[in-house]
Amino acid sequence: MQIFLEYSALGIAAGGVYALIALGFVVIFKASQTFNFAMGEMMMVSAYVYFMCVVLMGWNWMVGLAVTIAVSVLIALVMERLILRPMLGRPIISLVMVTFGAGIMMRGIASIIWGSDTDQMPSFLSRDPVMLGELFIPGKTARAFAVAVAVVVGLVLYFRYSRAGVALRATAADQTTSFAMGINVHRIFAMTWVIAAISGAISGILMASINSLSPSLGLVALNVLAVVILGGMDSIGGVLVAGLIVGWLEAVTGYLLGSEWRDITPYIAALLVLLTRPHGLFGTKPIERI
């Protein structure tokens, strides 16, 4: 029982970062119904930028974080402006392929610049373990969880209560009408990419701190797709719950059934949920008045 609980706590802790990554997917999907398959690579590049700032330049971690977020936002805005905006109105599949291509490119460029072997990330997270009663949680994991959840909750509250949040929901619901309300729909799209860039930068650094740094760091983002599907594609709040569920499922099935089950269980769960709730756990169902 003790071990089960420990695995559970570990899984939930890992799920916090999943939620942060998923938020990056969801916020873009919500506004423009596009899936950004370069999300993982945005994380990976951010982690390298942070690595360069802190290790190669020797800067303070806060300066490194600020620079990393700035670079990540810049990359996202360039992608949005140069690649996605001209594609607006094309079939969704072309948009998706474009982000996929951009991701592959970024991975290639990262291998050229930084080499494809693994680097050790100096962590700003303390290693001191956290004890939850009898439960032992490794320090970095616990602290990464706290950071990730704080960022997700902050963003969720921001979108729930701010005017920008209303504009995002309006744009998601009906672009033409939003335009007619004076909402600059393009600006909203750009804003979602900025949010994704911020969540990508922070989750990238956290992932690299917990594990290690290599050009394939971003592949974890594909696992997060299960979170996004489970939470319901367009539910910003849903990612938090779904992220924790997936993190927990992975850890617990890994412990109970063996690690080969780890990666597929989240997808089995997502499929089961989809069969009964086509819009995920928290996705919006269209209102139908009869």
Binding site: A167, R169, D174, M181, I183, P286, R289
Partner: protein
């Protein structure tokens, strides 16, 4: 008399092939309500979209003519910038944000005041005083409002935008006669109290001409009849084709009413 909206010789083509407007000219005097009548496909909605800048989104293009609001040329201005200058279109089919609360629908409309001084709280209070029912439903999702309440909400959104010119596209569509009368009453009140000029497209000519001071009838993309509302009501052609009152006594009103109130399928709206 100063002119709020002036359209001269407007020609509009969709997809480079379909001529929807063909030399349309009309005027809306400052602070007045003008009705724009015409059969299905005459080009009424196209006229409004040309003014509000929505044509390009639907593959339409102004090929000739001018549109001036308050003396300034507005052709080619992006829709969101037009709204921000006080030119507000209330589109056909209502288009509330169904999954958002009534109040959040109004919040969304505050973007129309970007770049202008706006008192948000005050604007909402004003909407709620014109439409008390919306105040009661503030926290409710707009999708669950009745058709009439939704129409009130979209008019409320237009009010929040601090309009100087409102373009209405069939505000009576799909509503029962009593509600129609109520809504037109409030439209007139808003125009009077807020000194807003209005151009109202309607199938319901009776209601529109009762509200407007002037009217145009368009056919095949150009104005064929125009005049003061009280004169148009007396006009024989208009009585026959738009008011459904035949000089021979046969009354087509019921048939037209029935037709009008058929629910509009979503893909048409």
């Amino acid at each position: 008399m100063t002119v709020a909206l002036e359209i001269n010789n407007l020609e509009v083509v969709y997809h480079g092939a379909i001529q929807a407007l063909n030399g349309l000219s009309l005027q809306v005097p400052e602070g007045e309500i003008v009705a724009l009548l015409g059969a299905n496909g005459a080009g009424k909605s196209t006229t409004l979209k040309a003014i509000s800048g929505f044509l390009p989104l639907e593959g339409g293009k102004v090929t000739h003519g001018t549109i001036q609001v308050g003396g300034a040329d507005i052709l080619g201005t992006a829709p969101h910038l037009l709204v921000r200058s006080g030119i507000v279109q209330v589109r056909e089919g209502r288009h509330v944000f169904a999954d958002m609360t009534v109040e959040d629908n109004l919040v969304a409309a505050t973007y129309a005041t970007v770049g202008r001084p706006a008192a948000r709280r005050h604007a909402f209070d004003e909407v709620y005083s014109y439409f008390p029912i919306l105040a009661e439903r503030r926290k409710q999702n707009a999708g669950y409002l009745s058709g009439g309440e939704q129409q009130m909400l979209v008019i409320g959104r237009a009010l929040v935008a601090q309009p100087r010119l409102i373009l209405f596209d069939e505000p009576s569509l799909g509503l029962a006669p009593m509600i129609v009368a109520e809504i037109f009453e409030i439209i007139r009140k808003i125009s009077r109290e807020k000194e807003v000029s209005m151009l109202i497209v309607e199938q319901n000519a009776t209601a529109a001409l009762r509200t407007a001071s002037y009217g145009y009838v368009i056919e095949n993309g150009r104005a064929v009849i125009d005049g003061r509302a009280e004169d148009l009501v007396q006009n024989k052609d208009i009585r026959e084709f738009y008011l459904g009152i035949s000089e021979h006594g046969a009354d087509r009103q019921d048939f037209r009413e029935a037709q009008r109130r058929k629910p509009v399928p979503e893909w048409l709206a």
